[in-house]
């Protein structure tokens, strides 16, 4: 497992990189990378919460309505 890659490279526009550098100036973020990782984790987490918000019961109701119209 010694050679297992734990990070990969993602390209962002140079202009955006510059804006992010300005944004993190004076904050606890030491690099644009650490800030981007933080934001993306927040985003992934909130997407998951949204998905959880649509419950199995909601999904059943949608399926029942589609069945009513014979889509299912």
């Amino acid at each position: 497992m010694k050679n297992e890659k734990r990070y990969t490279t993602i390209s962002i526009p140079v202009q955006l990189n510059e804006k992010l550098k300005e944004k993190i100036s004076g904050t606890g973020f030491h690099s644009v990378s650490s800030y981007v990782i933080y934001v993306l984790r927040q985003l992934v987490s909130s997407s998951y919460e949204e998905k959880k918000g649509f419950t199995k019961e909601d999904e059943k109701r949608v399926r029942d309505r589609l069945k009513n119209l014979d889509y299912l």
Binding site: E59, V62, R65, K67, N68, D70, Y71, L72
Partner: protein
């Protein structure tokens, strides 16, 4: 720019009843309007998907709300939509109730559609018009995005169930009143449908069985002639993908 979708709207109801539809009468006399004769099959999920992704059905491969018994979600549709691309280019965009999936999709807006986006009762069908219109007015009042897309979906269900009946004309009158409230909210407005409608037995495709399993008899089904009304829109929509292509060109993004 403001794009208003009217699922299943057809000239075959609007034009013969134009004197009952004062908003349509006024805007048709003042702005470009034409028929979009679909070359792709007039299936709502697939057409709305093409319209806002720029992909033909064989490219996006999203043909219906359900695939292999599973209700499709945004994650099942492997395309970038216009709102994804504009956002990446720092152009503000919101999308409300886009029915390529069920419940319809929202982007940068929270909206809980009546009847989970499959309105069945008359109350749900009527409520959809009010709730969508109120949401449009509130969104444009708060902070108007550079592109706003909103779709009224319940007209499709009304047309399936009540084609040829007076209650469908009454529903178009409600839509006419809603359009009156929102048409002046932007200088550039495009109203369009994803397909038209006709008698069930004359429809070139049957999207649903004539007698549903719950015993309802469907009176209408989809026709490939959709509508377009364009106020200051700098592109023509000959096919659904032209909406996406026109927006990409207008906003000068890739």
């Amino acid at each position: 720019m403001f794009i208003i979708g009217l699922d299943g709207a057809t000239w075959d109801i609007i034009k013969p009843n134009i004197d009952k539809l004062p908003t349509f009468k006024k805007i048709l006399s003042q702005h470009d309007n034409y028929t979009i004769s679909l070359q792709q099959k007039p299936w709502s999920a697939s057409v709305w998907c093409s319209m806002f992704s720029g992909k033909l059905p064989e490219e996006h491969n999203h043909l219906d709300f359900v695939k292999d018994g599973e209700v499709q979600t945004r994650n099942d549709v492997k395309v970038d939509f216009i709102w994804d691309i504009l956002s990446r280019n720092n152009i503000s965009v919101k999308a409300l109730n886009i029915p390529f999936i069920v419940p319809p999709y929202n982007y940068n807006i929270y909206f809980n559609p009546p009847g989970y986006g499959v309105p069945l009762t008359q109350e749900e069908l009527n409520t959809e018009i009010t709730e969508i219109t109120n949401k449009i007015v509130s969104v444009t009042g708060d902070s108007k995005p550079e592109l706003f897309i909103a779709v009224y979906t319940a007209l499709d269900k009304m047309s399936h169930l009540h084609w040829g009946g007076e209650s469908l004309i009454d529903y178009y009158i409600k839509i006419d009143k809603a359009v009156n409230k929102i048409f002046e909210l932007d200088e550039k407005v495009l109203i369009l449908s994803d397909h038209g409608f006709t008698d069930y037995d004359k429809a070139p495709v049957q999207t649903l069985p004539k007698i549903t399993s719950t015993g309802n008899e469907l009176k209408g089904d989809h026709h490939p002639d959709a509508i377009a009304i364009a106020k200051n829109i700098p592109f023509k929509v000959n096919q659904p993908i032209d909406v996406f292509n026109g927006l990409i060109s207008y906003f000068n993004v890739k």
